[in-house]
Symmetry: C2
Subunit: 171 residues, 2 copies
DNA sequence: GCTAGATAGTAGGGTGTCCAACTATCTGAC
DNA sequence: GTCAGATAGTTGGACACCCTACTATCTAGC
């Protein structure tokens, strides 16, 4: 919900405007929740755009970068598909999709699980590791350590969302 | 980034784990930023899923619901395509997409702009207004006023994200 | 042992977002 | 007045995500 009344030429905050309208229509009890959800949507959009802009020259998306880093941090640089989906909290089909593309790019490799023939192991290849390291260096410098989230408040953001995730049964 | 070490059987917070790994790898300066961005991604996923679950029986998605509400709140229940994209902060093609489906569902109608023949006005139809009102009532009750965001902290969430958006030049 | 139910992965379908390119139209500078 | 540049909207393509359905395989209960 990001509405702005057209009364003035001043640059209003669309979300604050929506919250005001919500309250005006008798939904004051839900106005904060609406604003919180809408804020989350927009913040996600902003954050994702920044991350993707850095990753694009490296030839990967954030979803695929996450898979590479997950493998990079695992003991043997290899994990079953199902575990990847569980850790990244995405649907199995999303894992299939990401691994398809990573494999086509020569960054990972599918290997049959030695004991369970239903399972498929994804293995990080050298090219994938190199790309992950280079991308991480740039991501850290350009996005994660950048001051668009002021140091004081990003800790607060993490805290609040941690509570939200806990309430949602995330962990 | 949501990684969990496989050491213990305890349900760890994947994001806290990723932050720990980031710090261990000498990226402490970027660990909070990484955790903040990852938190945003996950929170968005959770919030969107809740909203979409409520809207699904009404036959609309959140993106289309936002268009309906924007029209509902406008003076004449009609707005140009371009203005919709600007207010909702999405790409023009996303507006085209949403309006196509809303129009196919008989919820809105495209009308030529009387003065500017480049422009197209989107008009809310009765069915669209009714759907928006019903969906809002349920969304308010089931999601926006629900306690999955504790009343104390959702205000804090809005504040932090407002600052983030302001730093991003959002308004 | 054998079969019912759970689990792993994939294919197909639907939706949202963005980008690049293209048409049509408007606007302002000369 | 004309024409270059800006603006509105659409089309086509790439990606991500989810859901449903389906195959293959494992596991547990009888």
């Amino acid at each position: 919900m990001t509405f702005v009344s057209t009364n003035s030429g001043l640059p209003l905050d669309p979300i604050a405007e929506a919250r005001r309208l919500w309250a005006e229509h008798g939904w004051a009890h839900a106005a904060d929740g609406m604003a919180a959800v809408t804020s989350l949507m927009r913040a996600h959009q902003i954050a994702l755009a920044r991350v993707e802009a850095v990753l694009k020259p490296h030839g990967v998306t954030f979803a695929r970068y996450e898979v590479l880093m997950l493998l990079h941090f695992s003991r043997k640089a290899s994990l079953p598909m199902a575990l990847i989906g569980e850790r990244l909290q995405v649907h199995p089909t999303s894992v299939t999709n990401a691994v398809d593309r990573l494999e086509a790019a020569g960054l990972v490799r599918r290997t049959p699980h030695p004991a369970d023939r239903r399972s498929t192991i994804v293995e990080l290849l050298d090219a994938g590791r190199e790309l992950a390291e280079a991308a991480t260096a740039e991501l850290n410098a350009e996005v994660f350590a950048a001051p668009w989230l002021s140091p004081a408040t990003d800790g607060s953001l993490i805290e609040v969302i941690t509570e939200l995730r806990r309430n949602a049964g995330d962990f």
